[in-house]
Each structure stands twice: as C-alpha cells, then as structure tokens.
C-alpha cells in the first residue's frame, strides 16, 4: 500500500512537470472556461446558470479523454511498462496510479471552476451540493475509465489521438454543453445519447440544479456509472491482454 501511495504521489508530480499533461489538464480547460464565462455565456445566456456544470464536463472530458490515452500509449511504445514490470512494479498499479492521479488533477480544476464561476460570471450555485458532487464523481470516474480504455486499446499515439477526438468532439457538440441539445436535428440528438457527457448534463440538470429533464436524472447518473464500470473493466482486460506474457 505504501508503495502504491508513493507511486500516486510520484505520478501527480510527473503530471505537473510534463508540459503536455499540464496543458491538457489545467491550462486549456481553465482558459476555455475563462473565455466561455466571459464571452460565450453572453451569447448563449441559457448556459450561464449552469456554467460550473458545463465547464466541469468540458474540463473532465478533455483532461481524461484527450490527456490519458497518448501518455498511456507512450508508456507502452517506449517500453516503460516492461521496465516497470521487471523492476517489480505491476502493470495494474501503473494503470491505477495514472487513473487516480488524473482524478485528483481534474477534481482540482472542477473545484476551481465551481468556486470561481458564481463569483466571476454570476453562475448559479447548485440547488443540491450533494447532487452536484455525486454527478461530478460519476463524470470523473466515467471519463477517466474511457481515457484508460482508449489508451490501452490504441496501438499508436496518433490512433489514440484519433479515437480520443472521436469521443471528445461529439461529446462537446451533442451533449448540450455548447448549445441546448434540443436545438439539434433529431438524429443527432439521439446520437448524443451514446456519449456519457449527454447523460452527465441531464444528471446535473436534475440532481444538482433541480431543473426539469427529459427522463429521470437518477437513471442518467446510473447510465454514467454503468459506462464507467464497463470502460474500466474493458481497460483492465485490454491492458492484461497487451502485457500478457506470450
């Protein structure tokens, strides 16, 4: 346990030292949040009250889905996983430490957004703090699991980037973060249901802000958790497969 704790602390420090990771985890999400808060919420006032939620979804999806996969593929390509393995560090603990470290970084970003949005951009505070935290936890878990799954599935860093974008861009466009989902053509609105961000958005609406939703927001939360569990299991299975001794 001490060894695993050391690994998480070292992983956290490495993430901060790595400019690419720092950019994806902190700089771009917070920069985008500043622009959205200052400019875009004036253009689309519907976003303003729930700015904390939409920007949390953006930051977490970006950090986890864009940030994790290339670094995980790089660990494989550079032989780092093998090096760790022969030095007595299990692959599962590498995967877990990356996941936990990502969760911590993205939680910090979400905390900054949640605290500053009402002060800087007149965003509304959630009606239920517990509901907000529960949905945020589901979002963090699910996005990190998807990031780990893409990272353990993609063969190269470029294919990892493609897969990440294939999840990230539709999540951004179809979930209602950028503009209300009901304005989308119906096929795209249906397609949006494939992505967890859409369900997270509904869960935030219903559970955190007590706003009306198209279906039960608790069911939306369950769907997010379920996707996270499936993605975690798939990531563990993929990593086991690619690092299996043959």
């Amino acid at each position: 346990m001490n060894a695993f704790l050391s690994q998480i602390i070292i992983q956290l420090r490495m993430d901060i030292r790595d400019k690419g990771t720092l950019l994806v985890f902190y700089i771009v999400p917070l920069g985008f949040y500043a622009v959205m808060g200052a400019v875009f919420s004036s253009v689309n006032p519907e976003i303003k009250p729930i700015l904390s939620a939409t920007m949390a979804i953006f930051s977490v999806t970006m950090g986890a889905v864009i940030g994790i996969p290339p670094s995980l593929v790089k660990l494989r390509e550079a032989g780092t996983l093998r090096a760790y393995q022969v030095l007595g560090i299990p692959n599962a603990s590498v995967l877990l430490s990356i996941g936990i470290s990502t969760l911590i970084h993205l939680s910090v970003v979400c905390f900054i957004i949640s605290i500053s949005a009402p002060l800087l951009f007149d965003a509304e505070l959630p009606q239920s703090t517990g509901g907000f935290i529960a949905v945020l936890a589901a979002l963090l878990f699910c996005s990190t699991a998807i990031g780990l799954f893409i990272g353990s599935t993609a063969k190269t860093q470029s294919s990892a980037m493609l897969l990440s974008q294939a999840v990230f861009m539709p999540s951004l466009m179809l979930s209602g973060i950028m503009f209300p989902a009901h304005l989308l053509p119906q096929p795209l609105e249906y397609a949006g249901n494939v992505f967890p961000a859409t369900h997270v958005m509904r869960a935030f609406y219903g559970l955190a802000y007590r706003l009306p939703t198209e279906y039960n927001s608790s069911l939306a939360l369950l769907i997010v958790f379920a996707i996270g569990i499936v993605a975690s299991a798939a990531a563990a299975w993929r990593l086991g497969k690619i690092t299996r001794v043959a």
């Binding site: 060894a3 070292i10 490495m14 090096a83 393995q85 007595g88 001794v245």
Partner: protein, 304 residues
Amino acid sequence: MNNYILTLHNLVKQYQSITAVDGVSFNICAGEIFGLLGPNGAGKTTTLECIEGLRVPTSGDISVDGLHPLHNRRELRKTLGIQLQSSSLPEAILAGEAMTLVCAYHGVKPREDLMQRFGLDTLKHKQYGKMSTGQKRRLQLALALAGNPKIVVLDEPTAGVDVQGRAELHAAIYELKAEGVTVILATHDMAEAEALCDRIAILIKGRLAALGTPEQVTAAGSSQTRITLRTRHGSLLKQGSIQKASYLGQSEGFAQWLCNDAAPAVMELLNAAMSQEDPVDDLRVERPSLEERFLEIVEGGKTL
C-alpha cells in the same frame, strides 16, 4: 560443478513458423560473469526474456535459483535484477523518485548507497528525459540492484555509452562479481566480453555455437598466429610467403603473415629485413582475438 544458480535445458521458443531459440542448454555458476553473444537475431534477447519470465518458452526447462520464471514471478523479481536493452522510464520522473518507487515495491528504504556508488547522488533531481545515455544506463543498473538481487541480467549495458561511461559500468560489473552477484551479460562487444566474462556462450540462428571461457572459445578456432611487421623502407612488402609463414598481404605499410610457430617465423622475417639493411619500426605477434573467432563462427554457421 554443482553450484549452478541458473540452468537452461533444451530451451525452444517458436514464433509461429520461426524458431527464435532452438534447443539451447547451458548452466551458470553462482558468482560468475556469463556472456551471451551472437549477431542480431541470434536469439539472445529471446533467451534472456524466457529467463526473465517475459516470454513463455515453447519447450524446455529453466531454473533461476530454484525458481520457475513463469510460476514464481513474484519471487523471481527479487532474485533477478534486470536491465533491459530497449526500455525507458517516464521522461518526467526524477532519478531520486525512480529509486524511491522501485525500492518501495521491493519493501526497502531508498538505496542512497546505490545512488552514490553510480554517481547519481548529484542527479537525484534530474528528470530522466534530460539525462545522458550513460547516466540513464547507470540509473537503470542502480534500479536493477535496488532489491539486492542474486543475479543481474544486463542486456547491452554499454550500448551508446561513451568511453568513460563504459569504464565506469565495467568497474561496477567487477564490483558486483566481487560481491558474489552473478551477472549475465548480453553484448555485441567482443572486447567487453573478453575483458569481463568468466564464460561465454555464442548463439547463432537460435542455436548454441560455442560455450566456454573466452580463451577456450578463442582457442577452438584457428590455431595460427599473426605477425604484423613494418620496416622503414618497406623492403618486406614484396617478400611474399616465407618458409615458416604464409603471406596475408599488406595495408598502409604493414605486411602480415600467418604462422603455426611464431619464433622461427619472426627470426626469418627479421633476418630478411636486416639483410636488406631496412630497420624494423613495428613488430606485432598476435593470437586470434575473440572477435575473429566470433566472426569465424558466424561465417561458418556451425553450431554445437
């Protein structure tokens, strides 16, 4: 000898239709430096990976200090310290953090002694990605030793390392031997193998081609001695074969002969130079090196 710490019996590893290792057997004694040599694709790394538990052999038996590489993986990681040929740590990890992490998984305190011994104490706060090749190799070796292993496997430890770095790594390997650690060294560098190894095995196309001390392996090849001679006026360059030695040719003023008995051949050549009043600037009498024997084996393609 019965103090074998590692035994390999009839190891076979096939990748679909390709046989990478084909019936290799050898034993390694505790405390010796054992060299594994061979050209690219000879099966060295596959053999080492089977020993390290990173590959499943198609058939054959391996015992590492009484452990089975696949069935006793956890214990094996404590017995075996491994420096892989092509592996890397994360670029952003600090040397000190890497040592802390590996020691934590071995259940020991961070090995400051190893950091000092390999000149890494001043590099503790340096990121792995910013270290030179020599510094990286030294760190990898220090990490491989973190758990006090009985056996250390070094795969091309001096590849890409400068002369000073090489000398430092060689000194470290000698120190390990002095401490009773068994070292398995895979290398392309014949001079390194000749200087460091107690015994060597040469693999060709997955099969064992030679096994023994460097002297035994070298002696098993050509028994002829080479004489290289340079005179001030080059009078012997056109001498050709003499009674006691056959002429090989000349290069940049150095003429070369091969002989079975060096003394009479050298006398005959010196007499020839003196008779033509041509002073001798350089004279070398050399037995075939391990490298020449290695090339002879590789070109011959014969296996045991």
